[in-house]
Amino acid sequence: MPADRTLDQLRAAAEVVRTAGEHDTIDGVPARYVAAPRDTGQAAHLLRAAAALDLAVTFRGGGTKQDWGSPPRRLDLILDTTALTGVVEHAAGDLITVVRAGTRLDELPATLAGAGQQLALDAPLPGGTVGGAVATNTSGPRRMLYGTVRDLLIGVTLVRVDGVVAHAGGKVVKNVAGYDLGKLVTGAYGTLGLITECAFRLHPLPATVAYVSRAVDDLAEAGRLAGTVRAAQLAPTALEVDAPAGERAMVTVLLEGTPAGVTARAAAARRLLGADATEADQPPEGWARYPWRDGDVGLKLTAALSGVPRLLSDARAAADRHDLPLALRGSAGVGVLYAGLPGASDPERVAGLVDALRATTAAVGGHTVVLTAPAPVRDRVDPWGPVHGLELMRRVKQRFDPDARLAPGRFVGGI
């Protein structure tokens, strides 16, 4: 095997580099090298070396969302965060934790639950890392009460494309010193820098939970019921609609609190939902999961709250017109729905449906984003749709990554 000077130079920065194997691809694009730094310092050395070698870099955590966005235009080095793990700090009395970005989100309860605490962020795809959740801004049903990454992330450590390490925010919840770069990198798909550590605010685990559900025949009725619950003063943690293709829809309210409080509120929720509402202490099937499987088409649809009933029924009607079985599931209480289509669906028809959904969501103040889709579908649709402020976003990208070496092309507008 001939000498590989690039590999040697990367290894001089940090030993943790190997040549890429056949599975080391990002959304189908093969890499040449994989590096798995163990700490922020190693990551900084590696990115500095990659800068000197003009290598294009994409970050990879658990690899659960590598098929989101578009494939990178250029790729040399995968910077793998799965060795960048561990809870750095859990200050239970202050309700905060600091974790390394490669830590799996579903491993946090092991550390936090002992103190009766939680990072109140749902993980729709099991096995994903903290850094991946931040970079793609994933969330689930409980966002209605606890918010999303942007509401929970209080501090961040980044490594810039030039290897410079930067912090923003801190370890206290209340803090307005300096720009909130944590929000800037949330949902940025790794196009502005590597997230190596995150500080989060935590919440107490609830003493009691109840899931109150009601099945309905009609999607507009599901949306209307969700609106009724939202307008009551029940302070639900989640308010979900699940509408599989060709089946009845289910509206579910999650209530959390004291035993006495939850009992009373669950009774009130049953009254609001109707006589045949049921109550359980376990979530219904599919809770906090996307309504699609690997290889399917996965969409995110958003709406102003008053537009949720219309979005639900219009989305289903549009799917029927295109003769596609659309599964809808999501947070009717906040105006975010996810939609799934079988991966084998005709790409032309899917593209037509995406256009129709874009018109529908635009009419209710929202957006349609194609999170994941088989290549033939992606070739026919723009994953993001219209984006406000794109020119400013390009300028931000240029300042943070002037040579466009971080996941180029993966994000909105080809960023």
């Binding site: 803090n175 307005v176 010193a177 770069l181 906040v334 400013l392 931000v396």
Partner: protein
């Protein structure tokens, strides 16, 4: 930058032509009205004041400033406590007071759309008939503006449970430092692209001027219950707070005042707090009635276990208002017991409260400067009020030293130099104590993206401006086919 009289005269003429003569102030006496914001120790008379009537006029003002190379500073009600809206002598102060319309209250969307000059409390007043309110409640909520709240990411007593301005702003229309009008976020959540809205909120006027703000309206709680607990010491009150948090209760607010702050409040507003208290806690719970009932009993017993010697429970809204009156008037009230005072704003991890209060007490004794303590105990946000008499030789300097040493304590304990008042002019010099040069340089990459010429509120937030220059490092050595996105080249 243009500083000559001729340049300013020319800019004044351009502004008058753009937005009307009655919306531009150049008279020296009238300009003096705008010489400071809520931090009155800094005073600078702006070269000009512009009072745009709408977003397009605001954009026209900014474009005129850009054409003239003149810096501009945005101002809402001017209640800020960090000098964030301190004018520039060579610049234009852009005042939002003529943009005060509530454009829409949409309870079905749980949204309101307002102009930046709208007063914080006016949003709640407009939403209450529909059963909703605007959650962020800075103490100045009767006079501060939403535009100012957005710039400073304002907090308030109830942000312990409900979060800050940034958690409640869903969209803005802004005028960029280039004079472009851009919309970020909107009526639906999770707009695709970078969260520039999140970066903009709290950027203290350095990334542009908000001309329209879409805020979240929160459903009014079914029940609100408030208690006031008196303790002999702040340590006991702090231990009670810790016990409440450890029990898994998330109160809407937990506020603490120490003996000196109580004394000032009594002198000013006769709030009738229990005599002899070394500390009082105000704890407020809100939410569904059965939850509040269960947790309120728990909070009451935790206060007793931690040696509260008196607990009062507000029987109605009037009594609740009286509890809050002492707390909300605390800043102004210290004027009754001291000719001059500095309102400090720092954050510590809540668990360090005892230790930090002890150190503040020592600092106070060492320097002979009294410090009254008011704080959002639930989230460790301290508002020490540093009392002094400027007429006494050397006291001002010693008071500033104590105030600065308190910020050092916050940093040493892993906290922040500001929890809600902002960095502004006042604390820019402390930023390097909390952040490295690389941190500050990285933040300024964002600033350079928005404002490469550094015209939007220069001199605030950052101790030294970054020279943005050209975008560094052009793309190099890339085959055009690669650039075109042909993955097969690999």
């Amino acid at each position: 930058m243009s500083t000559t009289t001729t340049d300013i005269d020319a800019l004044a003429a351009a502004l008058r032509a753009a937005i009307g003569a009655d919306r531009v102030i150049s008279d020296r006496q009238e300009l003096r009205t705008y010489e400071c914001d809520g931090l009155a120790q800094y005073k600078v008379i702006p070269a000009l004041v512009a009072l745009p009537a709408d977003a397009e006029q605001c954009a026209a003002v900014v474009r005129a400033c850009v054409a003239a190379g003149t810096p501009f500073v945005a101002r809402g009600s001017g209640t800020g406590l960090s000098g964030g809206a301190l004018p520039r002598a060579d610049g234009v102060l852009v005042v939002a007071s003529q943009m005060r319309d509530i454009l829409e209250i949409a309870p079905d969307d749980e949204r309101a759309v307002v102009q930046p000059g709208v007063i914080n409390l006016a949003v709640t007043r407009a939403a209450t008939p529909y059963g909703y309110y605007y959650a962020p409640d800075p103490s100045s909520q009767q006079i501060c503006s939403i535009g100012g709240n957005v710039a400073e990411n304002s907090g308030g007593a109830h942000c312990l449970k409900y979060g800050f301005t940034t958690n409640h702003v869903l969209g803005v229309e802004l005028v960029t430092p280039d004079g472009d009008r851009v919309r970020l976020g909107g009526r639906a959540p999770d707009a695709p692209g970078y969260d520039l809205l999140g970066a903009f909120v709290g950027s203290e006027g350095t990334l542009g001027i908000a001309t329209e703000v879409t805020v979240r309206l929160t459903r009014l709680p079914e029940s609100v219950r408030t208690l006031l607990a008196a303790f002999e010491t702040t340590d006991q009150a702090g231990a009670a707070t810790s016990a409440i948090i450890a029990a898994g209760v998330v109160p809407a607010a937990v506020e603490m005042m120490d003996a000196l702050a109580i004394e000032a409040a009594e002198a000013a507003v006769h709030c009738g707090y229990p005599p002899g208290a070394g500390a009082v806690l105000i704890v407020e719970l809100d939410g569904p009635e059965p939850e509040v009932a269960a947790q309120f009993a728990q909070v009451e017993s935790l206060c007793r276990e931690n040696r509260a010697f008196e607990i009062r429970i507000a029987a109605d809204d009037a009594e609740r208002a009286l509890f809050w009156k002492g707390r909300k008037s605390a800043f102004a009230a210290v004027g009754r017991i001291s000719p001059d005072y500095i309102v400090q704003d720092g954050v510590i991890p809540r668990t360090a409260l005892s230790e930090v209060l002890r150190r503040i007490g020592e600092l106070s004794a060492e320097r002979g400067i009294r410090v009254a303590n008011v704080f959002h105990a639930g989230d460790g946000n301290l508002h020490p009020l540093v009392l002094f008499d400027a007429a006494v030789d050397g006291e001002t300097v010693r008071a500033e030293e104590v105030s600065g040493a308190i910020l050092d304590l916050c940093i040493t304990h892993g906290g922040s130099i500001t929890g809600e008042h902002g960095v502004g002019m006042d604390k820019a010099k402390y930023m390097p104590r909390m952040f490295t040069d690389d941190d500050l340089d990285t933040m300024q990459l964002l600033r350079c993206a928005f404002d490469p010429d550094g015209l939007a509120n220069p001199g605030k937030v950052f101790p030294t401006p970054r020279l943005c220059g050209e975008v560094p490092g052009r793309r190099k050595g890339l085959h055009p086919a690669q650039e075109a996105g042909l993955a097969e080249v690999f």
